[in-house]
Structure formats: structure tokens, C-alpha cells
Amino acid sequence: MTYEPKSLKVVGTRPVRHDGPDKVTGRANYASDFTLPGMLWGSILRSPHAHAKVISINTDKARAHPGVKAVITGADLPLPPPGVTQAGESAINTQHLAKNLLARDKVFYDGHPVAAVAAISEAIAREALGLIEIEYEVLPHVIDVDEAMKADAPLLHDDLFTEGVEPRPETPSNIAKRIVVSKGDIEKGFAEADIVIERTYTTKAVHQGYIEPQGCVANYAEDGQAMVWCSSQGQFVIRDLCITMLGMEASSLKVIPAEIGGGFGGKTTVYLEPLALMLSKASGRPVKMTMSRGEVLRATGPHSGSSMTARIGAMKDGTITSAEVVIKFQAGAFPGSPVGAAVMFCSAPYDIPNLSITGYDVVVNIAKVHAYRAPGAPNGAFAFETVLDELAHELKMDPIDFRAKNSAVEGSKSPYGPTYGPLGGIECLSSAKNHPHYKVNLGPNQGRGVASGFWINIGGQSAATVVVNRDGTISLVEGCPDIGGSRASLAMMCAEVLGIAAEKVRPSIVDTTAIAFNDVTGGSRVTFATGIAVVQATEDAVRQMRERAAKMWDIDVDQVGWRDGAAQEMNGNRSLTISQIAQKAAKTGGQIMGHASINASGAGPSLTTHLCDLEVDRETGKITILRYTAFQDAGKAVHPSYVEGQMQGGVVQGIGWALNEEYIHDENGRLENAGFLDYRMPVASDLPMIDAVIIEVPNPNHPFGVRGVGEAPIVPPLAAIANAIYDATGVRMRDLPFSPPKVLAALEAAEKAKANG
């Protein structure tokens, strides 16, 4: 489907979201709101060690407890055949997944599940965990990515040989993979540069921080048919991972999506569901499992900590001639960090002739990392965009002008291969430069930072059904969990095509047996890809309604047009509304239902530029964000409030990551801050209003010009804040997070260095 400019009545307006009232009144049902008669409670026994051999597991005492109905360990979950399942932005290795669900001979992180029980109450389930006896042999562990790459580092997997290096190494290591993106000749490029700056950066592991912990209810019947209620970013990926783990048939498992309380990429895989199914199968009763916040932080997808070196060269006129970046990512217990995205996208806003970007995927003793909003891109942008800021300062160029001079535009070749179509980078930069925010004067100890970001966005498989009801209302059936307002946007696109109000379209997200397979809600794909499916399904319904009208009027369908929710006779003035057509449907050929199932390509990348003003308290090191404006190309904002909401949410997560969020481990590799008191996400009062400026450079591959918007906004904040700290204090900070003790130490070190000349 291609973009065509048209006058719009619904798309671009701001109706109340369909799921809004239920959410604000508390009626919405989240994962842990489901209860079944006879239900048991499942609970997981987790490793207290960062790295250990499991010598023995004895579950006899737990099994003997009268309230305990089932106990499972790794021995009950045979390894599935090797394979890789694609889950949005993450590729999931099925055998690693099985070992992550339940450890076998080794535990790889604090929080790694070792056994699970189902009991008649939550308290008994927890008590029973205390009855399971496990003998461990504690092994040395490694968490820091640079340490893990050393030849003498504790080895996690003795069968892991680095992929992507020729010849294949003869000894195993913690380096799972090397990825290289390159073009031109970087040394030639650096030779042409008048100035070259090279810097090293580190970031700590951070968590998605969704408010709703993982939870599910599973019910496995005697005939092998099963159901799971859970909150996820994709009921189909939950189904497919469960059936792969348990050797079931797709038609035997129905996954019913609950309302979701945040995912940010972290809910595109399974942690509980297969275990709940196993416990339900073993006990013959429904089993409910929910995680505590501590379990969420210890054992579900954090995002990789990283270590990066960026070297960029530019000429006096501001032309960037060459860039070399090395990026190392923590993968957690098993390979598969999103380092590839950092490699491909850190330089993607720019057209740089000579590039060499290398990424390393490194296993370490923390939970297996999982996708987190624009997975990997913020890390890369942190390094790249702060070196750019240093270059702009050295060249005495405005940082926005410097970026604009090097911006990729339509026709530029992307670092990762394809040639760009229309791209909003320049538009974001010029909008930022002309915005009143950029002109406000700053006071003492205040600074302003600029940074840009890129996210590729994806398409993928989506299906939609448009059911026409007798009263002219529409039931819109789709299969992508709504994590950011997509129900509203999809209903609006359906309403636009029909020419009716958005309120007349009721969207619902249905279970795995009620619609064809849909990819996960991830990669900022739903408004784009499912949007296309919805438009096609709606057009299908419109075509059918025109046919029915033609039948009712006894004229040729070519003589029937469609406008404002009604079939219109072209050479006359008769018209038939949706309900008039629907009420006669039984007589004109049966009920009317439009359908589409697609695999969308051509998602347009989203570019963004951020301005951040902050103040540094020089005596305490505490940073206060004063003002923040995000400029982003949305292609077309279907529901501008939710585009703004995505931009604001991404910025806030980026601010938290920059200022305080980090995984802190003790000397034994145990997570010390497995709770929201000491894993410090921002609270509302920490932040100013985040201003969102939507830029619209239509994506040619979507009927309304939509680009994904959900992920790009988390990409620039780390660098924008680092650059603003420099502007406020003259100090460059390169190790996240910029928490008060670290900022004060950096300011004092700079003072000292100054005093010593």
C-alpha cells in the first residue's frame, strides 16, 4: 500500500481511547486478575548464586508437604530441538530458552530458576520452596563486559565459540559473536580529517521497568488441550514458545491476552507460562504464577550494560570523514544481546563515507538480557552523539548545524545496507533550531544538550478482521496487544476508511484461536503494519458493502461509490448507510466481514532530535532537568496524543537511565537493588513537562504515511543529558549513570585537575 495525500476527518484527531475508561476506573483485567475454580499457586525457587554447578536437587520434602500438588525441575523439561524463534526484535534460541526457564547442571545468575512448585496457597508454595534441598558448587563469576572478554575470565559455557571471526576460535570464550559494519576506508578518512576525537564510554545494565510484573494462569486439560491467560506483547509468541518448549501442537494451546501493564520489549518472551503449564499438567489443576518485583528485576530481561569506544574525524568545515566504533554488550547468561542494533544505527542519522563499527555479544552472569525499547540503540547513540558534541565544540560549530551538515537524507546509503527513502532528520534538526526552547538563555550551572537518534522500525505479520454489525457499528478484531494506544489508532484508521466516527469502531485484541498469527507488538510496528492490515480489511468490508448496495439497487457495483459511512449512487442521489446495508445482509448474501492478513515491509525509520536543559547542583552533584523538548518524525500522527505520549515516555525512560538507573551487584554477583527503592526510575515530580514536537514526513509505504514512533524517543536522552552536563559544568561524563555521587566526584576531579594546572 502506498501513501496518498488525502483530506482526513478522523486520522490526526484526538478521540478518547477505547480502553481508557476501563483503565482509569480499574476495571481493566491484567494478568494477575484472572482466577479459576480450584486454582493452585505456583512459585519458583531461584539460584542465590551468580554462577554455580548444581550438584544435586532433592525435592522429596517439598513433595511430601500435604498442600503441595506438583514440583518440577530442569529434569522435567527436556531440551527442545535446536532452533531460533523470532520474537519481534529478539531472536530466541530455543535450547537456551529451556535452560533459562529451568536450570540444569549449572546456574548462571542470581535469580536463575531451579525448581517450581504448585500448592494450594501462595504461602504454602513459598514454604515448600524452603523444603527443596539444593547443593551448589559456587564458581567464580563475571559481570563486567570488559572483564568477561579477558582470556582468563570465568567461562560461562564451555561450548561457546565466537561467531563472526575467521577462522573460528579453537577455544571457547564468553564472546558469543562479533558483528562488523563497514564502508569505505576509515584510515583514509581519518587522514583527511582536521580533528579526530576518540572517547570511551560505559553503561550499566538497566531494566525495562514495566509496572506490571509478569503473571499468568495456565490450565492444562487431560486431553492435552490447554489455555494460558497472561499479559504479553504477543499472545502468538507466547503460544509458539510454549508449544516449542513442551512439544505441543499449535492448535492445542489457546493463549488469551490480558490487558498489559507495560512491556517495553521485555514481554516478548516467556518466563512463567511454560512452567505454569507443566505444573498444571502435573497437578491436573489450573495454576497461577506471578512474579514479585524482586523476581522481575533479578530474572527478567534487563538491557545490556556496555563498554564502547568511538573515534570520529571531521574537517574544519564540519564534514565528518570517518568513524570507528567498538561496542561491547552484556548478553547475560546466554548469547543474544541487541548489540547489532547499536552497531547498525549509532551512525545512522548521518551520511559518513568511511565507517567501521564492530560489536561484541558477551555472556556474563546476569539474567539473559531481553529487548528494551529501541534495543541497543541508546547505548550506541550515547557514545556517538557525545563525540559529535565534542567535535562541534572543537570546530566552534553549532551542534545542530554540525549534525545537519552531515545528515543522511533521502537517497543516502544507510550504514546497514539499504538506501534511505524520505527521512525526517533535517526537518527535526531545523525545527529544533528554530524552536523557542533553543533560544532561552540559561543561568549559572545550567546547560543545554542536543542529541539525535534513529530507529529503524519494522513491519511484519499482522491480521485484522472488520465485522459489520446490524446497527452500523464495527467490531475491529486484531491480534497485537496494545502497549501504547494502538487500539485507538487502529480504530481511527478503520473509521477513516469507512467515513464514520472512531467511537463507532470497537477494537478488541483476541486470543490465538480467533485470528491468524500476528508478530509481537514490538519494533514500533503495530500502527504501521497492523494499520495496513486494518486499512485493507476495512477496504475489503467497504467493497462488500458496495456490492450489497449495488444488489439492493440492482445496479452495477462500478456505479456505487463510498463516502461518509454510506454507499453512494454515482449517477443518482440514493445512498445507503452501513446499518441499512447490514440489516439487509442476510438477504444479500450473509453477514459482512472484511479481512486482511499481511506481511508488511517498508517501515520508515523515525529520526529524532532532543533538546535538554538541566541544572547541576555543584555542591551535591544532583541534576535537575529544567526543560526537555523532543522533535520526532512520526510520518503521520494518527492520534497525536499517543504519539506525544510515546515521545514523552521514551524520554522519561532515557532520563532515568541517564541519571540513576543501574544494576548494582555485590561482590558475590547478587543484585543489590532488586526493588524500586534502589533501582531508581524517575517519579513524576522529578520531571518537567516533556514537550513533544511532531514532525510529519510521510512514509511512502503506508496509506496514511505512518512511521513507528515508540522507540526512537529513548535513543537521544543519554547523550543529550551528557552534553548538557558539559555545557553546565565544563565536565565530560562518560560513565552512566550520572547519579549525584558520581557527578560530584567528577566535578571535584575536574577542579583538582584545574588547580594542578
Partner: protein
């Protein structure tokens, strides 16, 4: 676990004395968290919120008496109290968030004996006296004598703090409390400082008291502070000395929330800043 909700102090004291391992429940914002995390599993909780005398604020010839179970929101809503004790009340108002404010009490904050409790340094600076009733009768002690270490108090078994008395004081008196947290709320102090001052007519300091928190196993009285502050108008050099003294008195630990070095510095900065705020407030105070 038993739950009891007595209507009088005597009943509460009797219940605490007879049920071994019973705990007082005020707002529950510390205790319920401990119950849920499994770090406390008392045989009984004795809810003191229905004891009328523990839920009132009164002004008498002696000063303000704040019932131990009065919530933060009730404290910051009390205009006369806020006027007289801006520092103590701002400390009480800092606890948690709007939701937590509806429940969190001074008694709970002080008796939970967290080194980082926000009201304790402010109450210390205010020379607050805790009034206690137990099986042995009634006694009064300065607030700094309640906590003896993290999570530990000097209260004997069966004893309940019933109220805090903030003494009457002369014109030109005011107090202030500041803490440092990495966020703006829902956090735990990395360091805190409460300062209470009385000024002479000429603007020099006549009386001063400083309490610091989160930098030692218990909140501390900065004994040397009057010696530095009295007779001055908080000139820069005086403030610098105060900051140094606070840093030197601190006995902090290195942990995930801050380093020893950081806490020493910041507690000095906070003492200095709180002193300046108290001084400005005292100038205008009747």
C-alpha cells in the same frame, strides 16, 4: 497473626505486654512493608490508630503536643504548627508521597529507627521530647534517645510513644530540614540535616541546635554547633565551619546509596543550607 485495635492506651499497653512478640501498628508504612517482605512476622499487631489521644495535635502552655499516630498530612495541614515549626513539619511532609502521607506518623518514623528517618534530625533540632507510656508507667525522654541503632530502640517491651512535645520558644525562632535524595520523592535520604535557631534582636544567633541523619547508625545531635553559630549572623566562614563539623561528626557507610566521602560532604552542605533557611525564617518569626 492477630490484629487488635484497642481504644485506649492502657488496653494497648496491656496487649503488648501480654502477647509476646506483638508490634505496634501506626500508619503501617514501615511495618506492612516488613510483613510483606517477610523481614517481620510478629505474633500480633496492635493498631494504635483508634486511640483518640494519639491522633490529635494540641497547643498548650508547654508547646505543641503531636500525637504519635498523627499522619504527615494532618501535620502539614495544621497551620499554627507549620508556622511555629516549619522545619519539623516540612520533614514530616517529605515522607513518601501523597498516598504515604495519609498514614505515615512521627511515632512510626522515629520508632522504626531507620538511620535515614527524615523527621528525627528535625525533631532533635527542635528539642522534641517523646512521651512514653508502658507497663511501668509514664516517662519522657529527648527524641535522640529513642533509636539506639538501625531498627533498634530504647523502648522497653510494652512501651508506646504516645506523643511528641515541641517546646514553647521565644520570638525570632524557626527551624528547617533538608535531605538529599537522588529523586524528588519516594526515596530514602542519603543525608539529612535539621537546624533550629533563635535570633537576638540584632540578628545574631542566640540559640542553635543541629541534628543530622543518614550518616551514622542513628541520627546525631551536632553538639558543637551552638559553639560555632551562637553570636554570629551565619557569615560564610561560619557556614563553612558548620559544614566541616557536620562532615566530621558523620560516621557514614559506603553502600549502594552513597560513598562515605560523598555523605560527609553532602551532610555538611545540607547543614549549611538548612541553617540559612532557618535563619531567614527566624528573622520574620514572631
Amino acid at each position: 497473626m492477630q490484629y487488635q485495635s484497642p481504644a485506649s492506651i492502657d488496653e494497648a499497653v496491656a496487649a503488648l505486654a501480654t502477647i509476646g512478640g506483638a508490634r505496634v501498628l501506626a500508619g503501617g508504612t514501615d511495618l506492612l512493608v516488613q510483613l510483606r517482605s517477610g523481614s517481620a512476622s510478629p505474633a500480633a499487631v496492635i493498631d494504635i490508630k483508634n486511640i483518640a489521644g494519639l491522633r490529635t495535635i494540641s497547643e498548650t502552655a508547654e508547646g505543641f503536643r503531636i500525637g504519635a499516630a498523627v499522619s504527615g498530612a494532618e501535620i502539614t495541614d495544621h497551620e499554627a504548627l507549620v508556622r511555629a515549626w516549619p522545619g519539623v513539619t516540612e520533614a514530616a511532609g517529605l515522607i513518601g508521597s501523597t498516598q504515604v502521607q495519609g498514614r505515615a506518623s512521627l511515632g512510626g518514623n522515629v520508632c522504626n529507627a531507620s538511620p535515614a528517618a527524615d523527621t528525627t534530625p528535625a525533631l532533635i533540632a527542635a528539642r522534641a521530647v517523646a512521651e512514653i507510656i508502658g507497663p511501668g508507667g509514664r516517662r519522657s525522654i529527648p527524641v535522640e534517645q529513642i533509636a539506639t541503632g538501625p531498627g533498634k530502640t530504647s523502648l522497653a517491651s510494652g512501651e508506646i510513644v504516645v506523643s511528641f512535645l515541641l517546646p514553647k520558644r521565644p520570638a525570632r525562632s524557626a527551624d528547617a530540614y533538608l535531605r538529599l535524595i537522588p529523586r524528588t520523592e519516594m526515596d530514602i535520604a542519603v543525608a539529612g540535616a535539621g537546624v533550629s535557631l533563635t535570633l537576638n534582636e540584632d540578628g545574631t544567633i542566640a540559640d542553635a541546635r543541629v541534628g543530622i541523619g543518614a550518616v551514622a547508625p542513628t541520627a546525631l545531635v551536632l553538639d558543637g554547633a551552638p559553639g560555632i553559630l551562637v553570636g554570629t549572623k551565619l557569615e560564610d566562614a561560619v557556614l563553612e565551619k558548620l559544614a566541616q563539623m557536620a562532615g566530621a561528626a558523620a560516621r557514614p557507610i559506603d553502600d549502594k546509596r552513597g560513598t562515605i566521602d560523598y555523605r560527609r560532604k553532602v551532610v555538611g552542605v545540607l547543614a549549611k543550607r538548612a541553617a540559612l533557611i532557618a535563619y531567614e525564617r527566624a528573622k520574620g518569626a514572631r
